[in-house]
Amino acid sequence: MSAARDDILGGIRRALRRGPLSADQAAELTERIAAHRRNLVPARAAALDPAARIDLFVAMAEEVQTTVARVSSELDIPAEVARYLAAENLPAELVVAPDQSLDAIPWDTRPLLHIRRGRAEAQDAVSLTPCLAGVAETGTLMLASGPGTPTTLNFLPDTHIVVLHAGQIVASYEDGWDLLRARFNPPPQAGEVDRPTGGPEGADGAPLLPRTINLITGPSRTGDIEQRIQLGAHGPRRLHIVLVEDAPSQV
């Protein structure tokens, strides 16, 4: 299909009445990308101090039927999960992301909770995952796929429980992008051999982003029948955040 490619790109240039961009013009666009310049970021969350930002995150999340429970330490997670499952009349059985960030949760304090680590399968009713960030402006969770964080956990089970640390709550999507870049594509350290610029890959030839980034704002919903909102269209019917307030906000 390279004839199609040439035709389409040629057609674009013809319509724009120019040839391919000059090296200078291309360099300017490459620079625009590398700068990651932000457009207008709403003041709603950006102007807040960390405590108020956390409150805004919780308020925005609850507005879209996410439930939030605040706990003071990771040690409290098993108790909160057990309480939530009992309150929602759900089985005490869950599949937990095999991510090391969740390894320290003392599940043995709740021996009645049945825990499996791995990806979600069709029969799993409840999942528990970490996340990369919470975005305060709309109460949105940011999750990245990886060996420890399979994406099926976010969509197959009826109930999705997410562990979010207060220090992970940022103001805007743009703050989230910065976190992503820092984590998956860190800038070269001083002394490191310069990578060729303008190339597509990250530090070691890896792609710039994980396979899947999920921005999740409330449980699954649809308004496709008479515009009456129903939760749990295809994804989770319930989204529950365990907000761990164990460290002062670092962001």
């Binding site: 389409i8 724009l16 990806r119 099926t152 597509p200 269209a233 295809h234």
Partner: protein, 477 residues
């Protein structure tokens, strides 16, 4: 899908006479605009974001070749494949070839207007592959064998009773006596029926709301989560989308995302915004093994550099449909193809030809609401006017219509004659209508008076009052 846009007048009359459609449209008329208004009232920066959104899309379109090539390099670097399709036919063939190579039997689909545009489902079915629409609205209309009537709410023309009928007819394995009386039950039934299809699918096809050049990513925005199950469960993920969806960076995408959900459904943010980059990575426990992107041109590049380029900014949010008095009266099927409402009135003639779709840019009162709510400020009325001019220049209107326009133009260019005739007509009508103050019928205006009375002219014309006032103020000076 074969367009029926040439039958717009007949389609529209049928829509106006359809009581179910009218009830359904009644719900849409108030719901969408009100929710949008509430969302925007909460974001003081919205107007400034619209301006920036417009600028981002303009910048991307002015450098479209550069960003497409960069996007392709980054998709490839992430292990994905980009396929270029000049026409609907090429796009269909590409998708079919990928499905065949995978020996696919069942294909799940997230909602994609581009897939509708190229009539992908028919093509797959004709070749022995079963496409399963998974968006609830799309699933309903697939069962009913009809096209979508709205670009974000495909089954907006139906009430729950029609949905229940379609489900009873299709889901014969379920108890026929089950109650299907409310949207909750219907939604649950669709979830139950579709879950095994998600798990069985060999290929998942989604559209894209945005393509990010910087990272080689595709972004979909959904509420149901069906698009995500469609792309993470099957072995192969195919993205099919138009070349104009490209944006330079994630920062640019963020600005447009802030505009999209608020303009579309009035949500602060949709439930799921998903950024996909290539196939599954080493060590991943799930995700597709292959990731393909089909980039469709199909007439889009030809719009660059001309009077319709602004249309390529469109985010497909449907705000213009939701605020259009014509759409709200006749519904989406009247427009006779994939894209209805004001955005369809501009885009459809470009994609299927003005001869087929000439009625659409005429089906507007030019009230301007579409442009005023567009998140990227597309001048829709102006472009409809461009189509009307072309229609006249290319001699596509009927002779009587053309003669009438020519006559009117001749009068309008001769102010003295125009005022004399208008004054006479106004005096005659004023005299004839003085008893009732209105007319129930008038010669040559049956179309107008069939549904409303024409008020009788009273007193003098604006022009003569204006002239007199000008004279008076001159005298005072």
């Amino acid at each position: 899908m074969q367009p029926t846009s040439h039958s717009f007048p007949a389609n529209a009359r049928a829509g106006l006479a359809d009581p179910i459609l009218q009830t359904a449209l009644g719900l849409a008329r108030t719901g969408f605009p009100q929710r949008r208004q509430e969302a925007i009232a909460r974001l003081p920066e919205f107007e400034e974001l619209r301006e920036q959104g417009r600028a981002i899309k303009d910048h991307a379109l002015a450098n479209l070749d550069f960003y497409l090539e960069l996007y392709e390099r980054n998709v490839t670097a992430a292990g994905g494949q980009v396929h270029w399709a000049r026409t609907a036919e090429e796009a269909r063939a590409t998708v079919l070839a990928i499905c065949r190579a995978a020996n696919a039997k069942i294909v799940t689909k997230g909602k994609s207007m581009v897939a509708e545009e190229i009539a992908l489902n028919d093509h797959l079915e004709q070749n022995g592959i079963t496409p399963v629409e998974t968006d609830l609205g799309e699933y309903i209309i697939q069962l009913r064998h009809e096209p979508p009537s709205h670009i974000i709410a495909p089954a907006i023309h139906l009430m729950k009773e029609q949905v229940a009928d379609a489900f009873r007819e299709a889901h014969t394995e379920l108890d026929p006596a089950r109650p299907l009386i409310d949207p909750r039950a219907l939604c649950d039934e669709a979830r139950t029926v579709l879950r095994p299809r998600f798990l069985a699918a060999d290929v998942g096809i989604t559209g894209a709301n945005f393509l990010v050049a910087e990272t080689g990513s595709s972004i979909i925005v959904t509420n149901e989560g069906n698009g995500d199950l469609t792309q993470i469960l099957p072995r192969i993920h195919i993205v099919i989308t138009g070349i104009e969806k490209i944006v330079p960076t994630l920062e640019d995408a963020a600005t447009l995302l802030r505009l999209l959900a608020r303009s579309a459904t009035g949500q602060e943010f949709s439930s799921y915004t998903t950024i996909s980059t290539g196939p599954r990575r080493p060590g991943d426990l799930d995700g597709p093994e292959e990731y393909h992107v089909v980039l469709l041109d199909n007439g889009r590049s030809a719009l660059l550099g001309g009077e319709f380029q602004d249309m390529l900014r469109c985010l497909r949010c449907a705000a213009c449909l939701n605020h259009c008095p014509v759409y709200a009266a006749v519904g989406g099927h009247a427009y006779g193809w994939v894209y209805p409402g004001p955005m369809g009135a501009v885009l459809t003639p470009a994609l299927v030809g003005l001869g087929e779709a000439g009625h659409l840019p005429n089906a507007s009162s030019f009230c301007g609401r579409c442009e005023s709510v567009c998140p990227v400020k597309i001048p829709l009325p102006k472009m409809m006017r461009h189509w009307r001019e072309r229609e006249f220049a290319w001699r596509l209107n009927p002779p009587v219509y053309r003669s009438g326009l020519r006559l009117w133009a001749a009068l309008a260019q001769r102010p003295a004659l125009y005022h004399a005739l208008a004054g006479t007509a106004s005096r005659v009508l004023g005299w004839a209508g003085q008893l009732r103050g209105r007319f129930r019928s008038l010669p040559f205006a049956a179309g107008w008076t069939a549904v409303r009375d024409m008020p009788a002219p009273q007193g003098r014309s604006f022009q003569s009052l204006w002239t007199e006032q000008q004279r008076r103020s001159e005298r005072r000076r």
